[in-house]
């Protein structure tokens, strides 16, 4: 049964229709700002499960931080990773307490998040070729570190080159 609509201003209807667009635009801007303002490091990666790097539309991996397990000075969620070094290079890494990290740290990341299994989204058609290249080459990922301990993934590198420059020419020959 159609109930007659109550009077609702036209403006509210326009607002309701455009709220999703505005929010999505804000998320895009936030992504760009974070990416521009973040400190970037190159971290080597290794497959989470060498038999199954590719999982649907993403590859699974973990970072090779090259650091010993945390000492008793910090445990679990209170442990953070301190990264030192120049941008876009492999940093020196050590575990520190999250509450008071040293000032010399270029970036501080949540230990729980940084040591967890990671996912890198890949285009549908390039997944298998990329997986094959990952087994044969040294891989690293650009990690964009924010001030709040979180990070986002940037470009994926194979033997120091962006992965598309290696995978796509190989795809064209098949």
């Amino acid at each position: 049964m159609n109930v007659p609509e109550a009077e609702t201003s036209a403006r509210m209807k326009w607002v309701a229709a455009f709220i999703p667009v505005v929010c999505v635009a804000l998320l895009m801007v936030r992504g760009e700002v974070r990416s521009a303002a973040s400190k970037k490091y190159l971290i080597p990666i290794t497959g989470y499960d060498p038999r199954d790097l590719l999982h649907g539309q993403y590859i699974r991996f973990r970072f090779k931080w090259g650091v010993e397990a945390p000492t008793s000075s910090c445990e679990g969620p209170r442990c953070c990773l301190c990264l030192r070094g120049d941008e876009m290079t492999r940093p020196e890494v050590e575990y520190v307490g999250c509450e008071a990290p040293p000032d010399t740290c270029g970036a501080v990341l949540s230990g729980v998040e940084a040591t967890r299994r990671q996912r890198y989204l890949v285009p549908e058609h390039a997944g298998h070729a990329l997986e094959a290249e990952l087994r044969d080459r040294d891989a690293s990922v650009e990690v964009q570190c924010s001030g709040d301990g979180s990070f986002a993934l940037g470009e994926l590198y194979l033997d120091g080159q962006p992965w598309r420059e290696i995978v796509y020419p190989a795809l064209q020959f098949h």
Binding site: V15, A16, I19, P20, M28, S35, Q57, E124, G154
Partner: protein
């Protein structure tokens, strides 16, 4: 065909004149004339929404990320403009019925398309910036930002799915946030509190105004369905019951009972027109359903199939009684069918061989026929005793 046969029957009984029957037939034909178009409109909108999501999921690499984001925004702006225009195109009282209903179908289509676009856009942002966020966080964001638009829908079916999406997302967020921090007893408390959710939903539904009739109807339907589902599942614990922390289980039971009392007390004025026994039927059904949710676990009796059958049938008979008092015909039919199905399962569970099954079926069939005969002879007296409205005494 059914409507045409009904109209012929009613005219033959003198309930309607032929002119009235023709007018009804003409009106209904006009109303449903464009049903096919409305169905195609909904399917088209759903296809667009799913197609956008699929396109983003393929992570198409042919164009640069920033161009992808810009194109996505342009598409979103055009979809939003379309949606706003459909919201503004309110059917006038003088428009033809079929035109009005098509206009409403377009509005529903626009809302679904915007929902799909929003979900796809958030996935696209996650892809481009490799944010690696959790899918439930994305779902929550989609639901929050599209709620103002979704509230303009007038489709009960849409609201049922929308409410289910909210419940699943909020439940998933709660579980994800708490799973590493809760001890087992606290998990029991969460499970014990879960049945209170439909009760609270039903209470909230009663506050909705007339212009949200579709949302109110969807909320009530979903709340009653989930509540009865919880009660039916509760009776299964008579088959197998694990020992749990009764302190937390009792706390959940008490909270749900309080919510139930508050909701029924709140809505009792609605039942003011019911005879006293009719109101009693609602209270009995509510109490019995609460007992079915919580007591089987609390009692901790195992391997008691007959208790399951007994409690299950009692629950649904009480539901049928209350539904008859409230004039919910469809629920009465469903409830009686459910009881019948459960009785058939009793035969399968109890009777191992053909001989005893046959004897059982004959005796119970005879009892059923006797019950029907008694009901036919005494239905008005029984109906008054049960507190059913006079004109609604079931045949």
């Amino acid at each position: 065909m059914t409507r045409a046969k009904n109209l012929v029957r009613w005219v033959a009984q003198g309930l309607l004149s032929e002119a009235q029957a023709d007018a009804i037939e003409k009106y209904e034909a006009g109303r449903t004339k464009d049903t096919g178009l409305k169905v195609f409109t909904r399917i088209g909108a759903l296809a667009i929404a799913i197609g956008i999501i699929s396109l983003v999921a393929s992570n198409w690499d042919a164009i640069p990320p920033r161009l992808k984001l810009s194109l996505d925004l342009l598409v979103g702006i055009s979809f939003a403009g379309f949606a706003a225009r459909q919201l503004l195109a309110t059917p006038t009282p003088t428009s033809e019925t079929s035109v009005a209903s098509l206009s409403i179908a377009w509005r529903e289509a626009a809302i679904v398309i915007m929902l799909g676009w929003t979900a796809a856009s958030i996935a696209l942002i996650s892809q481009v910036f490799q944010l690696g966020g959790h899918a439930i966080d994305a779902a929550l964001t989609v639901l929050v930002v599209t709620t103002p638009l979704a509230l303009y829908s007038r489709s009960r079916a849409f609201y049922v799915f929308w409410l289910l999406a909210w419940q699943a997302t909020l439940g998933g967020e709660l579980v994800r946030l708490m799973e590493e921090r809760l001890v087992e007893a606290e998990v029991v408390l969460l499970v014990a509190l879960a049945p209170a959710v439909p009760v609270v939903l039903a209470g909230l539904a009663s506050t909705l105004k007339r212009r949200h009739a579709a949302l109110r109807a969807a909320t009530e339907w979903l709340a009653v369905t989930e509540w009865l589902l919880a009660a039916s599942i509760g009776t299964l614990f008579f088959y197998q019951s694990d020992s749990i922390d009764m302190t937390y289980w009792s706390l959940g039971a008490a909270t749900t009972a309080a919510s139930l009392i508050a909701v029924i007390g709140w809505r009792l004025p609605v039942f003011a027109g019911l005879p006293a026994r009719g109101r009693i039927s609602v209270i009995v059904a509510a109490t019995l359903s609460w007992a079915c949710v919580y007591l089987p676990v609390a009692i901790g009796v195992d391997d008691a199939g007959f208790l399951n059958a007994l409690s299950f049938c009692a629950l649904w008979l009480a539901v049928a009684w209350a539904a008859a008092a409230l004039r919910w015909r469809r629920v009465v039919n469903i409830a009686t069918h459910v009881v019948g199905l459960r009785l058939v399962i009793v035969y399968i569970e109890l009777f191992a061989d053909l001989l005893t099954t046959g004897i059982g079926l004959i005796i119970s069939g005879a009892l059923l026929l006797l019950a029907v005969r008694v009901w036919m002879k005494q239905r008005h007296r029984i109906g008054r005793w049960l507190g059913l409205p006079d004109e609604e005494t079931p045949a």
